[in-house]
Amino acid sequence: MSSLLKLEKLSFSYGDLRVLWDVDLEVHPGEIVTVVGSNGAGKSTTLRNISRLVKPEAGTLTFDGHDLTRLESHQVVGLGVIQVPEGRRIFPEMTVLENLRMGSYVKATRADRERNVARAFSLFPRLEERQKQLGGTMSGGEQQMLAIARGLMGNPRLLLLDEPSLGLSPLFVKNIFDIIKEINRQGVTILLVEQNVFQSLRIAHRAYVLETGRVVLTGAGEQLLKDDHIKKAYLGM
């Protein structure tokens, strides 16, 4: 199967500090792929490289035949590679509805705006109740729903999710992972970055384990759940 997204020997530094070392990663169409690891392992940095918010030191980034290193952030979004960033990053002075509209800023997606808003509201009924509320005044869980819904507004071909469960109540965490699974079932390919190793391995088809900027382990989600190193280092078993 040909890959939708392919990272080869991706290296990145913040100043003198090397954060990523020759990271190889592939996402095939229809998959949920997860990148797990502890804080500071380089997970978010990997996503920031894909979205071109930062420029890699070396290596290639290819999406569906396009060399991403030649593109600007907004052009990457235009290809359908959409990131739901860590910490939600909701536009605080915009209403829920305005935030959703921004999600379909790319011209090609504006025609589907009404339909996508309806889909967002059916996936997250809470957002429909709060559509006139300012984004900055919502709770963390509601903001996370809005961030994911906003990402879906852009007709993603690949959805990059950065720590969607961070800071949510335990009850809501399970909820978010069910929603991610549902979004994938509706045909969206997902690259999920998480510190919640158990939940993300549970829903992922394949997984990469990142430690201090290097891929140390890769395999099927279910299979990694049984791995001794994973159990000891991340699952506390």
Binding site: S51, L53, E72, S73, H74, V77, G78, I82, Q83, P85, R89, I90, F91, P92, E93, M94, E98, R101, M102, G103, Y105, V106, R110, R150, G154
Partner: protein, 288 residues
Amino acid sequence: MIIFVQSLLSGILVGGVYALIGIGLTIIFGVMRVINFAHGDLLMLGMYLTYFFFASMGIDPFLSIVLTAPVMFVLGAFLQKVFINRVLNALPQNQILLTIGLGLVMSNTVMLLFTSDYRILTTSYSSSALHVAGISISTPLLLSFAITVAITAFLYWFLLKTDTGQAIRATAQDRDAAQLMGIDVKRMSVLATGMGTALAATAGALISPTYYIFPQVGSSFTLKAFVVVVLGGMGSIVGATLGGVVVGATESLAAVYISSGLKELVVFVLFLLVLLFRPAGLLGKSRM
């Protein structure tokens, strides 16, 4: 009582133009986090352009806005692309030096071209006034206020209802998140600087029938724009609108009840008081 209403009213009318100056500054600051210390000089360029159109072609100063604003939009876009874009990630003091420098180049270029003589633009209605219920309202002030209201209303509509306007606000609220929506933030910066510049120049055109026109006129307006914006809350457009009207009304009332020589002092005292008790400005928001 009549005197109070009279001075309050003319203060509000002048305040409308201050609001326009402040809104321009706040849009530029909001999108790029750069304080444009050349803002008054851009206004000065607007005045001279208006004067030029009037003196050489006889075009009415209010009418010539349709020429002045687009020309200055292009100049602003150019300044952003060539100069300001390079210091977006630089230290604030370097950004300040750049914009102050740009302002100096502008005022000295104008001095070279037009000399430092004071110029007056006199229209047929420059000194005419409307009399209603014992209150007289200067015609050019009233006209300029009407144009200000129309432009401000259009601007609010643009920023709140159109995709491009919302993209500008999104960029001001969270630059990274805006990029993740597919917004070309560099283009938004160019657009914002162009708009801010056009607004400053429009304000210049609007006051040209009532103010002296000279190359250094900008500096006092830079200061005023800064007060207006900080008073209302940096980056808030509603705040800048409110700030403009408050400054205009305060100046006018101070001139009547204290002394016209001290009106600026009163404004600055008010400014310091607001900063003391509401450091984030009257509306206390830092985003558009």
